[in-house]
């Protein structure tokens, strides 16, 4: 779900960088307000590396396999650190695997990062409900995981189809967008279930990871 270099016009790339810079600036400001922001940097950095590695685990869905996007889980665990973490992870993906790109780093960070912040918001909502803790973690884990992927997919398909500089008729574009979205519901549900399972696993084994409020 990354836009490669050379696919979209430079205007789109630059707009992507502008939005990412603004959002990251806001996230860094929120991080700075923390009591001891520098103490959490090593933790957030190592979690970034961990998420990058976990991203390489494939879930078999015959005849192919998918990998988890994990932006929902990153949002849920890292909070505002998720945005710089995603920018860094995308940068590594671009220069190590040539997946995504340097000119499109901004727009890809918008696609992955903003839904992560949304997922963080959704996951935090669980504190407002007072039914039993495990059910609550599972429910909001599923919602944040699935919405992370679904919103990313909507942003990705919308941008790709609108920004590719080819003469494609409006009707084909609309159909392609709807088709892509329908196709993404399966990975979104799988992601939601996986996030639910990971969140509930962490809740049982190491609850502080979910509560650390990065």
């Amino acid at each position: 779900m990354h836009i490669p270099d050379g696919f979209v016009s430079p205007g789109v790339s630059i707009a992507g960088y502008a939005v990412t810079a603004g959002a990251t600036w806001y996230a860094l400001r929120r991080i700075d307000k923390d009591r001891n922001p520098q103490a959490k940097i090593p933790k957030a950095a190592l979690m970034t590396a961990a998420f990058f590695v976990v991203n390489l685990i494939h879930i078999p869905i015959p005849p192919s396999s998918i990998h988890l996007v994990l932006n929902g889980l990153m949002g849920a665990i890292l909070g505002f650190y998720a945005l710089p973490a995603i920018v860094i992870a995308l940068f590594f993906q671009a220069i190590i695997f040539q997946h995504g790109g340097i000119t499109t780093l901004g727009i890809n960070a918008v696609i992955m990062g903003l839904p992560a912040l949304l997922a963080y918001g959704i996951f935090e909502l669980r504190h407002r409900f007072n039914f039993d803790e495990q059910t609550r973690t599972k429910l909001f884990g599923f919602l944040s995981g699935a919405s992370g992927v679904m919103v990313s997919a909507a942003l990705f398909s919308g941008i790709v189809i609108a920004a590719i500089p080819a003469d494609i008729s409006a009707q084909t574009e609309r159909r392609a967008t709807l088709f892509a979205l329908a196709l993404y519901t399966i990975p979104a549900v799988v992601e939601g279930i996986a996030t639910l399972m990971v969140a509930s696993f962490l809740d049982r084994v190491k609850p502080e990871l979910l509560e650390s409020h990065y």
């Binding site: 430079p10 015959p62 190491k206 990871l209």
Partner: protein, 263 residues
């Protein structure tokens, strides 16, 4: 997981001698200039600039080819899609109900060439200097300290965690776990793997955090001092190779953008 990003960073070539800070500025400008190219006439120029830079870097061709393999497949799929989806007046070929038009071919050639050239120059940028130098260069260009510290630390642990994941997945397979069928059980086991990896990394991060704080991290403003002496403050103070390459690359980028605007 072998990163091998800067395995050729120690070679000797004009690109390696080019001071990294001005290299980041010039090459990133060139990448955006490539993204601007929207006319088929400029493709040979763009490819020529890329080829000259790659030749100057003395990086082996195999380095480029292995790195292009994975994204190449994805690009190929996208190209076929766009080729058949785009509409135009001049039909070149007809395959059943689908037609390939001249406009479609031109769009695809532009996308593929831009993609290839941008990826190649980004490989030159990050392949001709140690990764640490590249990050330092970006810090001296104004990348926030939080981002710098996080990038360096996560880069340090990427390979390490990659190995841990490999070992854990091997262990699962040796115990009879078959990961080629989809079931809730498979998903549960893989989620357990994800969770365990996250917990291991978290525990590790606690120890790293303590170790770093014991050594004074976060206590003083030391980490905020920008080590600008690593780089020339002004391009005029850089070595001759840097100056020539900097101005030539910037010149090429400006010409490409100017011509693209006029065409």
């Amino acid at each position: 997981m072998k990163l091998g990003l800067d395995e050729y960073a120690e070679l000797s070539s004009p690109m390696h001698h080019w001071e990294q800070r001005s290299k980041v500025v010039a090459i990133v400008t060139l990448m955006f200039a490539f993204a601007f190219v929207n006319d088929i006439i400029l493709l040979p120029v763009m490819l020529l600039v890329t080829a000259v830079l790659y030749a100057l870097s003395r990086l082996p061709l195999s380095f480029l080819l292995t790195r292009l393999r994975y994204p190449g497949l994805f690009i190929l799929a996208m190209i076929v899609l766009i080729l058949f989806a785009s509409t135009g007046n001049t039909v070149l070929a007809q395959v059943g109900p689908l037609s390939i038009t001249r406009e479609g071919v031109e769009t695809v050639a532009l996308i593929a060439a831009r993609f290839f050239c941008i990826i190649t120059v980004s490989l030159i940028l990050f392949g001709t200097a140690p990764f640490l130098t590249s990050i330092k260069a970006m810090r001296s260009l104004g990348l926030p300290d939080v981002m710098v510290d996080m990038s360096l630390l996560s880069y340090r642990y990427l390979e390490e965690f990659g190995k841990t994941r490999h070992t854990m997945q091997n262990a699962m397979q040796l115990r009879g776990f078959e990961s080629n069928r989809f079931s809730f059980h498979t998903l549960q086991v893989l989620s357990g793997l994800v969770g365990s990896l996250l917990i291991r990394s978290y525990d590790r991060s606690e120890r790293v955090n303590h170790a770093m704080r014991m050594r004074g991290y976060g206590q003083s403003q030391l980490s905020h001092i920008h080590h600008q002496e690593d780089f020339a403050l002004d391009i005029c103070e850089a070595n001759r190779t840097s100056q020539i390459l900097f101005w030539s690359v910037l010149g090429a980028a400006t010409i490409l953008v100017a011509v693209s605007i006029f065409l």
